[in-house]
Amino acid sequence: MFFLIPVIGLLGEVAWSELPGILSSPVVVDALWLSLLSSIAATILAAAVGVPLAWLLARVDFPGRSLLRGLVLLPLVLPPVVGGAALLFALGRRGVVGGPLHDLTGLVLPFSLWGVVIAATFVSMPFLVITVEGALEGLDNRYEWAGATLGAGRWTVLRRVTLPLIAPSLGAGLVLTWARALGEFGATITFAGNLQGRTQTLPLAVFVALESDRATAVALSLVMVLVSLAVLIVLRNRWLRSL
């Protein structure tokens, strides 16, 4: 009931007749588009960094492995606002990394679409790393041995044996990561700001609209509930079946 009542409350607030008009207003269309773009970009970025990282954590024994694992998982327990602030200090125009980056390339990460993507990647990547690392550890690594004795180098084994074998977990990890990126609020508003059409994603638009325009807030929330339901349906085979 605790989980169901808020959703029912939300459905009761929806002004169904005005829904098409609200959903096609510029603010909503901008936020939808930005959210879609940034969450997909964040997922790709998280996969590009997270899969090799998960492989490293699961397969290679090196000093400081548990420390690295802890660091990777930090965003899971860190309040997102703090994460955003940390990103700002590190990647801001006067930050330790952001400063030199700006001097070299003129690139400014905070308060830009890049900022949105980085904030979303920061908070969502642990989901991918956890899922993929778990799958790699559960995998019978003798399949990788078999690949190696058949002349496949590490990279070929990863591409042709390991990744196909963990494809279901990888898929689930990607969906989770994307869902987390789509819902990201705290780190985004801190690091990327809340500029409509530039950095205002769906959750930020909901937050703003709650103050001024309830109907829009409700409509946007409905969109996100539907997305969440879709995620649950995609993942049902993985989780719900084991219940």
Binding site: D140, R142, Y143, W145, A146, G147, A148, T149, L150, G151, A152, G153, T156, R160, V161, P164, L165, A167
Partner: protein
């Protein structure tokens, strides 16, 4: 020097260490026989390059594969060692054809070229019609052939077989052991068979190395190992009497002598195993339930710890095991005339 030549030691953690030396000439099969935990899988891993050795060397056809002192370690993908793994380990996400084509693709062949060579191998092993099947749909025998094709398609210089028959049920095992013997003979390089099953080692290998707690306990032909086991452990593991004969409704003709067996279903060519402890020794003709009794002499008598093994003479030379107390009570000595008795239920048969 062609073939495999190795002498190495390695340890895993505090408890386990493996030290062994063996050489295999091309066209020969050596069996590494030992119980679970003896270090067989570790040996496979070391030879295939999945585990580096601590000291010694592994050389294949004159090429140094692993030698810590010379700072040589060839990674598994460049060793040219074909492995048929326990449970076969066919890639579950690839068809049988793509499993076999995998090694060729890794060696740089294009997809269609690799598939056409793989198809020829499948046809050669008479499983061409399974090319499009997934490994999960194969029977044990089909999977074994697919695994052999996959291991041999890249023309390795050494064939390693890790418990190739362990995944099969008893009825298909005899059939597949014969098939395996044929496939082994088609491969011209050195062959190393890893097994915990004495019968497999006796029938498939030219030479047997018995591995016991990480050390080679005995090396010899099947004959040596069976008749002259060097430790009590080997005597227990491999010391069973193994005979060949023809079965017909519960009687087995073994070199002109008739034995009774409890199994009345098996017909034709069979392997007969009789455990030395199942043979009773008497001074006079025994009376009672055992169906098999015959007079013979003691050809040899040897002490093994708390037991005595005796080799009997014609018509069916066997090894029997008794306690020193029994030997003393019966005043047994070399050349003595004795009677043997064996219950029909202790004469076990498998199809040859």
């Amino acid at each position: 020097m062609t073939g495999l030549d190795m002498k190495f030691a390695l340890s895993r953690g505090e408890q386990f260490s493996l030290a062994m030396a063996l050489a295999i000439r091309p066209g020969h099969t050596v069996a590494l026989l030992g119980p679970n935990g003896a270090g067989k899988t570790t040996a496979v891993a070391a030879i295939a390059g999945l585990l580096p050795i601590d000291e010694g060397h592994i050389r294949l056809d004159g090429r140094l594969l692993d030698d810590p002192i010379a700072d040589v370690f060839v990674p598994p993908e460049r060793r040219s060692v074909g492995v048929v793994f326990q449970d076969y380990l066919l890639f579950p996400h690839l068809t049988v054809l793509d499993n076999v084509a995998f090694g060729l693709r890794s060696a740089g062949a294009g997809r269609s070229e690799a598939r056409s060579v793989a198809r020829q191998w499948l046809d050669g092993l008479e499983i061409g019609e399974l090319a499009a099947a997934m490994p999960a749909d194969l029977s044990g025998g089909e999977a074994q052939r697919a695994a052999i094709a996959r291991a041999l398609v890249t023309q390795p210089r050494l064939l390693l077989l890790d418990e190739p028959l362990a995944a099969l049920d008893v009825t298909t095992r005899a059939l597949l052991r014969r098939l395996l013997a044929n496939h082994l003979n088609e491969f011209s390089g050195p062959r190393l068979l890893i097994t915990h099953e004495p019968t497999e080692a006796f029938l498939l290998a030219d030479e047997i190395h018995v591995l016991e707690e990480g050390r080679i306990a005995q090396v010899g032909t099947a004959e040596d190992i069976r008749l002259r086991p060097r430790t009590q452990y080997i005597a227990d593991l491999a010391g069973a009497n193994l005979l060949t004969g023809r079965a017909s409704r519960g009687t087995v003709m073994v070199s002109g002598f008739e034995l009774h067996a409890a199994d009345t279903r098996l017909q034709g060519s069979v392997l007969v195993t009789i455990h030395p402890r199942a043979i009773s020794v008497h001074r006079k003709q025994p009376e009672g339930s055992p169906r098999n009794t015959w007079p013979t002499t003691i050809a040899r008598l040897e002490h093994y710890g708390d037991r005595i093994r005796l080799q009997t003479g014609q018509p069916v030379p066997l090894t029997a095991e008794i306690t020193p107390g029994a030997a003393e009570a019966l005043a047994l000595e070399q050349g003595a005339a004795i009677w043997l008795s064996i219950k029909a239920t202790e004469v076990s048969l498998v199809a040859a």
